[in-house]
């Protein structure tokens, strides 16, 4: 049952994507959770979140980005240069953070040296940092412009009915993911954090209809699963910088002394947290859902909201300790993790703050030593 999720979560060119391409349908990649997938789904384009897994070296990315920058966009550029994203008919870059914004320029520039790596549809989708009325208006217009660009590039018309149907289907997936989250919060551990993360990761790259069907079966089977309620494993919440690599969660769980019961990561369930309103104008509804209710650290003035959301998860999922990781040079999470640590430790919630490199887990020894020490601290 988990195989299809793991295939999608651990391979860039996974079977569902290849099948989609074989059927002659377009695939568009995007780099940030603010891009409303529904607008692609509405016209039978597969939206695929662009990832950095499978990176083996950094010589192309180093030439364009330099050394002092987060390794996530660098891994993406490296893979692009190596032709790993050759299946994309379009790419959308978003300013999730400044490093990701620079990916737009670096990818275009690299295209001069590595011909064919910039798809004919290469689009910059801007996202405001505030949810004030002018920010919301701006974002709504960005979605409208994106739709117009898609229509012109792919020769398709996005109608209100199609959008409403897509929103309805995506909402069904969101409710199922929320159900999965509430199951993970219970004392009885029916699913490991690694499995759950593989599922949410898969949701960012699989065709939505296929994903929803498999997710529904998984949730049903987990609801019937009987497990003991007194699991001795420590319950961990993982937060911080972008991570699309299940091995980070595996590292926490590998000795069977801890289980990741929740995460607040860009690729985790956070991006699916809010249902989109199914009444009124669908584009405004998408703008409200994707930006208006966002609690991602790139947004200005939302620290208190994010802290409250974390405390809620900690309480709900009966979390024993919080692992805060940030990719080196990550301004957003690097600074915010320090604030979270200060505020959560004050309330007696143990925290471990670690800085790491994104990509193949090159620092397993050091990370593992710190995780072990943290788990020992939780056991005392």
């Amino acid at each position: 049952m988990m195989d299809i999720f793991y295939d999608a979560a651990t391979k860039i060119q996974s079977k569902p994507i290849l099948d989609w391409k074989a059927a002659g349908k377009p695939v568009v990649g995007y780099t940030c959770s603010y891009v409303p997938s529904e607008v692609f789904h509405a016209v039978d384009i597969l939206p695929v979140r662009i990832r950095g897994i499978e990176t083996e070296s950094m010589e192309i990315a180093d030439a364009y980005f330099g050394p002092y920058i987060c390794t996530f966009p660098k891994c993406i550029l490296q893979l692009a240069g190596k032709g790993k994203f050759s299946f994309l008919d379009g790419t959308i870059i978003t300013p999730g953070c400044d490093s990701m914004r620079r990916l737009d320029e670096c990818w275009r520039k690299a295209g001069e040296t590595y011909p064919g790596i910039v798809p004919s549809f290469f689009y910059y989708f801007d996202v405001p940092h505030k949810t004030m009325p002018h920010g919301m208006k701006w974002f709504t217009e960005e979605i409208q412009n994106l739709i117009a660009a898609l229509e012109s590039q792919f020769g398709k018309k996005v109608t209100e009915d199609q959008l409403n149907r897509s929103i309805h289907l995506y909402n069904k997936g969101r409710r199922l993911l929320q159900e999965l989250e509430s199951m993970r919060s219970k004392k009885e551990i029916v699913i490991t954090g690694t499995d759950a993360f593989a599922v949410t990761m898969a949701g960012t790259v699989m065709p939505r209809d296929l994903f929803t069907t498999h997710l529904e079966s998984l949730v049903e089977s987990l609801q019937k699963k009987e497990v003991p309620g007194n699991d001795p494993r420590k319950r961990i919440l993982i937060i911080g910088s972008i991570s699309d690599d299940i091995s980070l969660i595996q590292l926490v769980e590998q000795d069977n002394e801890a289980v990741v019961v929740a995460e607040n990561l860009c690729f985790g369930v956070r991006y699916e947290g809010n249902e989109i309103a199914e009444t009124g104008d669908p584009i405004s509804a998408l703008a409200n859902g994707y930006l208006g209710e966002s609690t991602c650290p790139r947004m200005y003035g939302k620290y208190k909201e994010r802290l409250a959301a974390l405390k809620d998860i900690i309480h709900r999922a009966k979390v024993d300790g919080v692992v805060m990781q940030n990719v080196r040079f990550c301004d957003l999470h690097g600074s915010e993790n320090g604030l979270f640590e200060r505020d959560l430790e004050k309330e007696g919630i143990p925290c471990l703050r670690v800085e790491r490199e994104y990509g193949p887990l090159v620092e397993i020894g050091r990370l593992k030593m710190r995780l072990d020490a943290f788990l020992e601290r939780l056991s005392n």
Partner: protein
């Protein structure tokens, strides 16, 4: 009842054998390519000193980077817990431990009972570790032990522009070629190291007493400069070699396990 602790580090491996809270054998050997070989060498030397065989050891805890790959240990513990435990045995009043080993640097704050409250390790690179000093001593053509004495002999220590091990090396070569004395350069290296470590140590909000463990704690120059930079007195460890702290902690965990009725080899 005899127990042991074995700490396989990146540069050196240490073993300690204890009986009734007393060290009866110990060793520090250069680490080899494989953790098992390092552990064997350290343990054989410690056993020889105590006049014992491996069969005489009731329980053994392993720690360090190779802790999971030692055949004779009964249990593995993290270096953080072991250094915390070991330092408290060396100096019962200690609350903050600065441990500088071969490839990492840790600051650990413990509570009165020895439990780890907070810890931090270096994230960036080799700067601020024993490896940094080793590389610099080699460039100066002196032993790493001699480097520690340079601070008190120096007239006007140099300032290093970069803590990057590679750049600092280039910097030092420039100072040597410009005719600066080995003492002034050595003192500058110790000071750079101390400043780097102070930043890390301050991040755990150190509480008194503070002590240093690990191989670098034997470098007087780093220790005295660190005291100045941090503005705290660093208590000297005299009960045993501070480089053994991790292995002592591991042996103490073994002792605790056996005393609580657990563990037979």
């Amino acid at each position: 009842m005899k127990v042991a602790g074995c700490d396989v580090g990146s540069l050196t491996s240490k073993a300690v054998i204890m009986e009734n809270d007393r060290i009866i054998g110990s060793s520090i050997v250069k680490s080899k390519a494989k953790p098992q070989e390092s552990a064997d060498a350290a343990m054989t030397a410690a056993l020889a000193q105590a006049g014992l065989r491996l069969e005489d050891i009731t329980y053994c805890v392993g720690t360090g980077y190779g802790r999971d790959r030692i055949s004779f240990v009964n249990e593995a513990k993290s270096e953080i817990a072991c250094h915390g435990m070991g330092a408290r045995w060396l100096l019962p009043s200690v609350r903050t431990i600065i441990d500088i080993g071969g490839q990492d640097c840790k600051a650990i704050r413990i509570d009165k009972s020895g439990k780890v409250e907070k810890f931090i390790t270096n994230d960036k690179c080799a700067s601020g570790t024993g490896r940094f000093l080793e590389v610099m001593a080699r460039v100066l053509n002196i032993g790493v032990d001699e480097l520690g004495q340079m601070t008190e002999k120096a007239d006007s220590p140099i300032t290093l522009a970069s803590m990057c091990t590679v750049w600092a090396q280039a910097d030092i070569i420039k100072y040597i070629n410009s005719g600066y004395s080995v003492e002034d350069i050595g003192a500058g290296i110790n000071a750079a190291m101390a400043k780097r470590v102070a930043g890390l140590a301050n991040a755990v909000k150190p509480e008194k007493d503070v002590c240093m463990t690990g191989g670098v704690s034997k470098n007087k120059g780093v220790l005295t400069t660190l005291e100045k930079v941090m503005g705290v007195k660093i208590k000297r460890v005299r009960k045993a070699d501070p480089q053994l702290a991790g292995a002592i902690g591991a042996a103490l965990f073994s002792q605790e396990k056996v005393n609580n009725g657990g563990g037979e080899r």
